[in-house]
């Protein structure tokens, strides 16, 4: 590794920095969509990811989509929760503000539910991409 230097106790300093970013970027990316890229100076990619995922989540809420709870019970509710929770901070905010808890009253509200789930799933992909950038697998 070109940027690795050995410290007094034999720990590679470059490896330590690499490990910290490889944990920080996905975690930050989960909490704030796109932030995992922004923190690694991929500003355009980070902003595009942020706008896409946040817009998708917000449109899902505006369409009166359903936000799944952690204790759904039904297997489909659990899968819905897994998708929703991928949106990280947005999901936490929706839970705190009690958004997305109304009954689905029209056909496009079901689209809203799908928008919310897919926003979370896309954020999982975004987190994986931030991790790949952090470990140097992707430029």
């Amino acid at each position: 590794m070109a940027n690795t230097s050995t410290t007094k106790n034999g720990v590679a300093a470059g490896t330590a920095a690499w490990s910290a970013m490889s944990a920080l970027a996905p975690a930050l990316g989960w909490l704030i969509p796109g932030a995992g890229h922004l923190v690694q100076k991929r500003y355009v990619r980070g902003l595009l990811l942020m706008v896409s995922i946040v817009a998708m989540f917000v449109i899902g809420l505006l369409l009166q989509g359903h936000v799944y709870q952690p204790n759904g019970g039904d297997i489909l509710d659990i899968l819905g929760f897994v998708g929703d929770v991928g949106a990280g901070g947005l999901y936490i905010l929706a839970q705190v503000m009690n958004w997305g808890q109304g009954a689905i009253s029209h056909a496009t509200a079901d689209y809203g539910t799908k928008y919310l789930i897919v926003a979370g799933l896309l954020n999982f992909i975004s987190m994986a991409d931030a991790y790949h950038i952090a470990i140097g697998k992707k430029p």
Binding site: R45, L49, V51, S52, A55, M56, I59, H106, I125, P139
Partner: protein
């Protein structure tokens, strides 16, 4: 807020294509090309599914 089925599908295609393009390819040029490819596939799929449903309904 209400959206038609088509506009909901197109918006979905836009956002998903942006994320797929950025995350699945490395260079900027490849990202744009793959994003456009995904968008075309999503919207093309909507039209194909629409015609299939029309045929089934006949």
């Amino acid at each position: 807020m209400t959206l038609s089925h088509f506009s909901a599908a197109v918006l979905f295609a836009v956002f998903a294509s942006v994320v797929f393009g950025i995350t699945q390819r490395s260079t900027s040029r490849e990202q744009v090309r793959y994003g456009l490819y995904c968008f075309a596939m999503f919207v093309g799929g909507v039209f194909v599914a629409g015609w299939v449903m029309w045929l089934l309904r006949r």
